[in-house]
């Protein structure tokens, strides 16, 4: 065994890589359980890929056969019901994990310098995940699958000048049909591998800038501990807790995340009375509907996701970290979270009466919070300094500035 490792080490930096990136990889010692959600997302990704491959062995991407083939999986394939419910529950689990991962990043300001590339690659991953989930949702070919895809592909009508052509091109048909189903299946199978590659980028960036931590500044070497065994065991413990919750849903409430209408085969001649997207799209769907104009709505919805990219530049404060030492930022975070919940609620309900107005106010708030962030963060810093920063924060800023001086001193010499 040792001989084999030695043979490989001469040709490939195996031992060095494992040491540097896993066993001895320095990790802040003060990470909370909120830092478990990155590895959890990786676990869910693996679960989705494995269950997905086995489902693909029985699924038929043909408009005439798709619905029946899913029932075939549920009834005839050995443990097919288990694999299918794991996959459908896994989709929702993926978004829960990712949204908590993002909320943690927002709350602790982990997106700030020097982690902009991590933040952006994470955002790219979210968009890829959304696209994969959306295309996967068409595959059971139920009523919600069909009309969800019909409505969402129609959004591309907002493309200037060639909108109608783009929609037809996306569908390969004049409405969602067999061609759409087949291409969605092909891409649904492909996208996870692009996601895996993007995760690779995310990890390389992470291991270069290292993990953020609740205090918000980069720790001294003395405050780091080796990843193994401390964080390997902590991540595994997190896996255990996650899997218990996940399997409670898989075994005892697998249809929580499946709309009843999706057990009715797709019918191009009849729209269900009340179309809702999957829960993880609800806030964005509410923003789409808040603007009473196709183009405006689509732009607002796209913007609501893209706007996260400029967050590292909107936050002008010199106070390190996120909400921990910053009451105003914390307030913004709380208001934003509530706003997203309100948007989700509005997105789940039919656009009627007062809810339309609520949706519009919540949409305005959504963008207003981003827009106000630069001014608020600058004012907050002044306000904090006027009141006198707590000594530990003072220390953190000095430490940060010292580090920067050292870095800049180095670049000059």
């Amino acid at each position: 065994m040792n001989k084999l490792v030695a043979w490989i080490d001469q040709r490939f930096p195996l031992t060095q890589f494992v040491k540097q990136e896993l066993t001895e990889y320095p990790t802040p010692r003060n990470l909370s359980y909120l830092w478990n959600f990155g590895s959890l997302a990786a676990l869910v990704l693996v679960l989705q890929v494995i269950t997905g491959i086995f489902l693909a062995m029985h699924y038929k991407a043909d408009a005439k056969l798709a619905f029946d083939s899913v029932e075939h999986i549920m009834r005839d394939v050995n443990y097919g019901w288990l694999i299918r419910y794991m996959h459908s529950t896994g989709a929702s689990a993926f978004f829960i994990v990712i949204y908590i991962h993002m909320a943690r990043t927002l709350y602790y300001g982990s997106f700030r310098k020097p982690r902009e590339l991590m933040w952006w690659s994470g955002q790219g991953l979210l968009i890829l995940l959304m696209a994969t989930a959306f295309m996967g949702y068409l595959l059971p070919w139920g009523q919600m699958s069909y009309w969800g895809a019909q409505v969402i592909t129609n959004l591309f009508r907002a493309t200037p000048f060639i909108g109608d052509q783009v929609v037809i091109w996306l569908r390969g048909d004049f409405s969602v049909g067999d061609a759409t189903l087949t291409r969605f299946f092909a891409l649904h199978y492909l996208f996870p591998f692009i996601i895996i590659a993007a995760v690779g980028f995310h990890m390389v960036a992470l291991h270069y800038v290292k993990s953020s931590n609740p205090s918000g500044i980069n720790l001294q070497a003395k405050d780091n501990i080796p990843f193994h065994p401390y964080y390997t065991i902590k991540d595994f413990f997190g896996f255990g807790v996650f899997l218990i919750i996940y399997f409670v849903f898989v075994f005892y409430s697998p249809n929580t995340f499946i709309e009843a209408d999706n057990y009715i085969p797709a019918d191009p001649l009849q729209t269900p009375a009340h179309i809702v997207p999957e829960w993880y799209f609800l806030p964005f769907y509410a923003i789409l509907r808040a603007i009473p104009d196709l183009f405006g709505g689509v732009v607002a919805m796209a913007l609501s996701i893209i706007i996260f990219a400029v967050l590292p530049y909107l936050d002008r404060s010199k106070i390190p970290g996120g909400a921990r030492y910053r009451p105003f930022y914390r307030l913004l975070f709380v208001v934003f979270s509530i706003d997203v919940v309100v948007l989700s609620y509005v997105g789940a309900k039919p656009p009627e009466g007062g809810l339309i107005l609520v949706g519009q106010i919540a949409t305005f708030m959504y963008f207003a919070l981003f827009t106000a962030l630069p001014a608020i963060s600058i004012y907050e810093e002044k306000w904090l300094r006027r009141r006198g920063l707590p000594p530990e924060v003072e220390e953190l800023i000095t430490a940060e500035e010292n580090q920067r001086d050292i870095r800049e001193g180095k670049t000059q010499s």
């Binding site: 549920m74 019901w81 595994f236 413990f237 255990g240 218990i244 399997f247 075994f251 009843a260 209408d261």
Partner: protein
């Protein structure tokens, strides 16, 4: 598809999510709870009620004769039922679809997934079948599904005797439970397997918890 039916269906579905402002009175129909328990006898009797009444018009296209052993039918009973059909043939309605289409203006829906295709499907089926009423002389309708085309095959609305009514109630519940099985035939396997998987994961997680605590105890 007939326009009025479509509109009615839309109204019905709107009423189901109970958020519509213009839904008809049917929005107020509360789904009734089933008090019978899921057991072999009820499933079996539910199947025979389906077979004798519902099956006149409704298919169960995902249920094969051989599946019926799961609701307690013996091999002999299945052989009697299927006649010349193969064991892996699915349960087809007695009435050919074209005839049904002529009679009702619509092919009656397949019932294999009905218990999943409505919110609280089992209770929905039970409530629907016990919500028929005499609208005006010899004209019948359904509180839950205004304008339903299906006749009151259990004769719930015209039965006066409370004892008979109770019997119908019981049979309808059995049918609902049978259709719940038809929509989710792996339910029992799923639930019993879940106990083992979750118990295993709890043991593993507990071990991981202790191991984590011990490893981290090395740090100050």
């Amino acid at each position: 598809m007939n326009m009025t039916l479509r509109i009615r269906l839309v109204i019905l579905l709107l009423s189901l999510v109970s958020v519509s402002t213009n839904a008809s009175a049917s929005a107020d129909v509360e789904l009734r709870d089933i008090y019978l328990e899921v057991n072999a006898q009820n499933l079996r009797e539910g199947f025979y009620t389906y077979n004798n009444l519902c099956r006149l018009c409704h298919n169960l296209k995902y249920i094969k004769y051989s599946n019926l052993s799961d609701v307690g039918l013996s091999k002999h009973e299945i052989d009697v039922l299927r006649g010349t059909n193969g064991v892996s043939d699915t349960l087809a309605a007695s009435m050919p679809p074209s005839v049904a289409n002529q009679a009702f203006g619509k092919v009656p829906p397949d019932l294999s997934l009905m218990a999943k295709a409505r919110k609280n499907g089992t209770h929905y089926i039970y409530t629907l079948l016990t919500s028929y009423y005499e609208k005006s002389e010899a004209v019948y309708d359904n509180h839950l599904f205004q304008g339903i085309r299906m006749p009151d095959i259990f004769e719930y609305s015209v039965t006066e005797n409370p004892k008979d009514k109770e019997l119908i109630d019981k049979r309808v519940q059995q049918v609902a439970l049978f259709l719940e099985w038809a929509a989710d035939p792996k339910r029992d396997e799923r639930k019993s397997m879940g106990v083992f998987v979750i118990a295993y994961l709890m043991v593993l997680t507990l071990l991981l918890f202790f191991l984590k605590r011990r490893i981290w105890a090395n740090l100050q």
